[in-house]
Amino acid sequence: MVILQVNGSAHPVDLDSDVPLLWVLRDELRLTGTKYGCGVAQCGACTVLLDGRAMRSCAAPAAGLEGRSIVTIEGASGKVAEAVQDAWRRLDVAQCGYCQSGQIMSAIALLSEIPQPKDTDIDAAMAGNVCRCATYVRIRAAIHDAARTVRS
C-alpha cells in the first residue's frame, strides 16, 4: 500500500512495483485528463506537476512518489493555472485537444518558475510536449498572454 498525494488529497493505492504514475492516475484514480501518448517520456501528453515541477508521468514508477505533491489537470488551480487555462480558451489553442492537458501543465510549471518568460524560455520548457495538430503558434502566444495576466 502506497499513499499518493494527488490534487491535495491522500489516495491509498495498491501498486505493482513498476506501474507508472500515469496508469495509476488513469486506471485507479480515474483521473483521465492526463493522457497516454508514447509511454517513454517523449511526447509530454502525460505531464503532471510533481512538487510544482513538470514531470512525465508515463515513465515514473508511482511507488517512488509517496509523500510528493502530485497535481493533474483536474487539480490545476490558482492564479497561474487560471491565467493559463483562460488564455488557452481565449486564443482557442486546442484542436484535437488530446495533448493540451500536458501542454497546460508544462506551461503552468514554466510560469510558476519564470513569470515573464522569453521565447527561449518557452522553447526550453515546452520542447518536451508534442502536439501533432501543431498548435505551437498559439501555445507560444497563450503563454505570453497568460504571463501578462499574471503580471497585471
Partner: protein, 718 residues
C-alpha cells in the same frame, strides 16, 4: 461534457440501457421527449438549449463548431445556447452527401457537404418557432423577427425565447420550403466564435475513447506480427498468464490479444508473451529495395492518367530537357491519441465507443464479426485525439479487432482495445512510399514545350470499398491527384505505375497531394531556374486561366513582401496547391541550421476556401497544416529493412516540436463562394515552399524526403 463522477454514477445505474453520448457542455440536456426536434440535426429544449447533432467527427479540425455555426446562423440562435452532440451511426440520416450512402468524415468535406443541408435545417427550425409564436400570439408570421435566440413581434411588443416556444411548437409540421439568408445578413458565419470544445479541452474533462470507463471493463493489447503478412504459428503464454491482472490470452485475426484488468497489466502480459510467427507469406522487402524497383519502373511509361497535346513531339523539339527523380517515404499518421475502441456486448446487440471517421463501416464490420444486424450495433462517436486519416480505414480495422476480442473472450465484460505507440508506428496503414519522375522540355526561348509526370506506388483504395469510386481505367485517382496541376502546359502527361507491396497503406492528411504538390512545385522551380525565369513570374504566366490560384499566390506573395530584400542567410520559397476544392499559397522564409537542414522562420499563407465559416478555425487549420506538413518534410519516415519497420516511438519517428515551429501569418481570400475544406489543404504547399527556399541558400535541390536525409547522406553543399 459529463463529469467523471456523473459519468461513473450513470454508468453504474443505467445498466444495459446506458447511453453515454458525450456532450460538449456540462449542463444536462433536457429529456428528448420534452424537446422539439424539427429535423435530424437540431433539438431545442424547454431550458432554451439548442443541441446540434454533429454528423461529422470532431478530431481537432473544428467540425463541431463549424457545423453548429451554419445551423445556428439560419436559426438565429444565440451562440451561448448552442451545444453539440455526435450523431449516432445512421447512414440514411447522416450520410456524407459527397460520399453517397455512407456516414463519414474525410476529404475535407465536412463544411462543403453540410453547408446547404444545415442552413436548411436551421431555417426550417426557425420557421417552426415562428409559426408557433404566430399562432400563440395571433399575429402574422411575416411580422415576427428572430434575433440571438429571441423571437419578437414588434407591433405587439411580445417576445419569447426558443425554450418558451418549444411546448407550443411541438406537433407543428415543418415547412417544405424555406428561404435562406442573404449572406450580407450573416451574424455568426464569418465571425470569430469561440470553439464549443475549447473549455473541455483545457480542464481535462474532454472525453476521448481512451477515457471511456465501464464497470468491469478489461483492457486489451494485441501482439502483432513483426512482418506485414506474417501469421501466428504458435503461442507460449505461460509467463503471460502469471502476470497479475491478465485475464485472457486469445487469438484474433491480427495477432494475439492479451486482455487484463488494466493497461499496465496488459502491457506486461504482452511483453511476457512468446509468439512464433509464420513468416512464409510476409513482405520482406525493405525501403531501399522498393526505391530501386520503383526507380526502374519509372523509366518506363505507365498507365496514362492525363494527356494534353503531344508530349513526345514536344520533347523531340525541346532544346533542353530537365529531369528529376523524387523519393517519398512511407509515413505514419501518428495522432496523439493512439488507436483505440471500447465494446460492450449485450443480450440484444452491442455498443461501441470509438473516434472513427467512418461509423458506417465500423457498424458493418462489428456486425459481421459478431453475427448481428448492423442496426443492433450502436456506435458512440467520441472526440478523436487527432486522426489525419488514420481513423478512416475502409475495413474498420480497430472496431473489427475489438469485436473479435470481445467475441473470443465470451463477451461477459466490456473491453477496451488500445494500440500502444509502438503499435501505431509499426502496425502499418501508412501513406505509401512513392517514386516520381518528372521531365520538362524547354525550347530555345525557355518556354516549356513538354512536361511529363510519372508516379510509381501502391494504390490506397484497391481492394477496398472505395475502389469503384476512385479507380477508373486502372488509375487510382488518389495516387495522381494534384500532379502537375493546374499549370497551363501545351503538351503534358501524367502516368502511373501501381505496385503490389504487402505493406498496408492508407490516406494521410491531403492524400495524393502529400507527394504530388512537392514534386510539381519543386520541379517547376527547378525548370524556372533552368529557363532563367523567375519562379513567381513563371507561375503567374502559367496560371492565367486560374484566377483563384493567381489571387491566392498574389496575396501570399504580397503579404510576404516576396520582392523585398532579406537579410543574408535567409531565402524565400513558393508553394502553391489546390486540394479538396481549396487553393493555398505559402511563402516560406528559411535560414539554415548548423547541420545544413532548413530552419523555417516564417510562413505567409493565403487560402481560398470559399466562405470562411469561422475564420479563426480556418487560420488554425492552416497553422496546423503547416506544422503537420513540416514535421513530415523535416523528419518523418517509416523505413523498412528486410520488411521490418525501423521506427518504434517518437524518439525515432521524430515529430515537430515547438522549437521548430515557424511564425505563421494566414490571409483568407475574400469570396462569397460556398465553403470548401480546410482540414487538409494547408499541408501540401509547405514542403515544396521550404525546399524551394533551401535551393536559394544552398544551390541544392531536394529530391528525397524527409530533409533529414540530406544531413544523413552528408550531401550538404554549404
Amino acid at each position: 461534457m459529463l463529469t467523471r463522477r456523473r459519468f461513473l454514477g450513470s454508468s453504474a445505474l443505467a445498466g444495459a440501457a446506458l447511453l453515454i453520448g458525450f456532450r460538449i457542455d456540462p449542463r444536462p440536456a433536457a429529456a428528448a421527449d420534452e424537446a422539439l426536434e424539427p429535423n435530424a440535426f437540431v433539438r431545442i429544449a424547454p431550458d432554451n438549449s439548442v443541441t446540434i447533432i454533429g454528423k461529422h467527427i470532431e478530431m481537432g479540425q473544428g467540425s463541431y463548431t463549424g457545423l453548429a455555426t451554419i445551423l445556428a446562423e439560419e436559426l438565429d440562435a444565440d451562440w451561448s445556447q448552442i451545444r453539440v452532440e455526435p450523431a449516432p451511426a445512421n447512414a440514411e440520416r447522416y450520410n456524407n452527401l459527397l460520399w453517397g450512402p455512407m456516414q463519414g468524415t474525410g476529404g475535407s468535406t465536412a463544411m462543403a457537404n453540410s453547408w446547404e443541408q444545415l442552413r436548411r435545417a436551421g431555417a426550417t427550425a426557425r420557421a417552426v418557432l415562428v409559426a408557433a409564436a404566430a399562432r400563440d400570439w395571433g399575429v402574422p408570421a411575416s411580422e415576427i423577427t428572430v434575433d440571438r435566440g429571441v423571437v419578437s413581434h414588434a407591433p405587439s411588443g411580445r417576445r419569447a425565447t426558443f425554450g418558451d416556444l418549444v411546448p407550443r411548437a411541438k406537433g407543428l409540421v415543418p415547412p417544405a420550403q424555406v428561404a435562406l439568408k442573404d449572406p450580407k445578413d450573416f451574424k455568426l458565419v464569418g465571425k470569430k466564435l469561440p470553439r464549443l470544445d475549447g473549455k473541455a479541452k483545457t480542464d481535462g474533462s474532454a472525453q476521448f475513447t481512451l477515457d471511456v470507463s465501464l464497470p468491469g471493463m478489461l483492457t486489451a493489447l494485441i501482439a502483432r506480427p513483426p512482418l506485414f503478412g506474417a501469421t501466428v504459428k504458435s503461442v507460449e503464454e505461460t509467463a503471460t498468464r502469471r502476470v497479475k491482472g491478465v485475464t485472457h490470452v486469445v487469438r484474433v485475426p491480427s495477432g494475439v490479444a492479451v486482455v487484463a484488468t488494466s493497461f499496465w497489466a496488459a502491457r506486461k502480459g504482452r511483453e511476457a508473451l512468446r509468439v512464433t510467427w509464420d513468416e512464409g507469406g510476409a513482405e520482406r522487402r525493405g525501403s531501399d529495395d522498393l526505391y530501386a524497383q520503383y526507380r526502374a519502373l519509372a523509366r518506363r511509361p505507365g498507365k496514362v492518367a492525363r494527356r494534353d497535346g503531344d508530349p513526345e513531339a514536344g520533347f523531340r523539339r525541346a532544346a533542353k530537357i530537365v529531369e528529376a527523380y523524387y523519393e517519398f517515404p512511407y509515413l505514419a499518421h501518428a495522432p496523439m491519441e493512439t488507436l483505440d475502441a471500447v465494446i460492450r456486448l449485450g443480450p440484444d446487440g452491442c455498443e461501441v465507443w470509438a473516434g472513427s471517421q467512418i461509423p458506417t463501416v465500423d457498424q458493418q464490420v462489428v456486425a459481421r464479426v459478431l453475427g448481428l444486424s448492423p442496426a443492433k450495433v450502436r456506435i458512440n462517436t467520441m472526440l478523436a485525439g487527432g486522426s489525419f486519416g488514420r481513423r478512416a480505414t475502409p475495413n474498420g480495422d480497430v472496431a473489427g479487432e475489438v469485436a473479435a476480442i470481445a467475441k473470443a473472450i465470451g463477451g461477459d465484460k466490456p473491453v477496451k482495445l488500445v494500440w500502444a505507440r509502438e503499435d501505431d508506428l509499426q502496425g502499418g496503414r501508412y501513406r505509401p512510399l512513392y517514386v516520381h519522375r518528372l521531365r520538362a522540355g524547354l525550347d530555345a526561348r525557355g518556354d516549356i514545350v513538354a512536361w511529363e509526370h510519372r508516379i510509381v506506388g501502391q494504390s490506397i483504395t484497391k481492394g477496398t470499398l472505395f475502389e469503384s469510386a476512385t479507380i477508373k481505367n486502372g488509375i487510382d485517382t488518389t495516387s495522381v491527384e494534384g500532379a502537375s496541376s493546374p499549370y497551363a502546359m501545351p503538351n503534358l502527361s501524367v502516368d502511373l505505375h501501381t505496385t503490389d507491396v504487402g505493406v498496408p497503406v492508407l490516406w494521410w492528411r491531403s492524400v495524393g497531394s502529400s507527394h504530388t504538390a512537392f514534386s510539381t512545385e519543386t520541379f517547376l522551380d527547378e525548370v524556372a531556374h533552368a529557363a532563367n525565369r523567375d519562379p513567381l513570374d513563371l507561375r503567374r504566366a502559367l496560371l492565367l486561366k486560374h484566377p483563384r490560384h493567381l489571387a491566392a499566390l498574389d496575396l501570399a506573395a504580397d503579404k510576404a513582401g516576396f520582392r523585398e530584400p532579406l537579410p543574408p542567410g535567409r531565402a524565400r520559397g513558393i508553394g502553391l496547391h489546390e486540394s479538396f476544392g481549396s487553393v493555398v499559397a505559402q511563402i516560406a522564409e528559411v535560414s539554415l541550421r548548423p547541420d545544413g537542414l532548413p530552419k523555417v522562420e516564417r510562413v505567409t499563407c493565403a487560402v481560398d476556401c470559399g466562405t470562411a465559416i469561422n475564420p479563426d478555425i480556418v487560420r488554425a487549420q492552416m497553422e496546423g497544416g503547416i506544422g503537420y506538413g513540416l514535421a513530415a518534410a523535416m523528419w518523418s519516415e517509416i523505413t523498412l529493412v528486410k520488411g521490418r519497420v525501423q521506427q518504434r516511438n517518437f524518439d525515432t519517428y521524430r515529430p515537430l516540436r515547438i522549437t521548430e515551429m515557424p511564425a505563421v501569418d494566414v490571409h483568407i481570400v475574400p469570396t462569397g463562394a460556398a465553403p470548401t475544406g480546410v482540414g487538409e489543404p494547408g499541408v501540401p504547399p509547405i514542403a515544396p515552399a521550404v525546399a524551394n527556399a533551401l535551393f536559394h541558400l544552398t544551390g541544392q535541390r531536394v529530391h528525397k524526403l524527409p530533409f533529414a536525409r540530406l544531413a544523413a547522406a552528408g550531401t550538404r553543399t554549404i
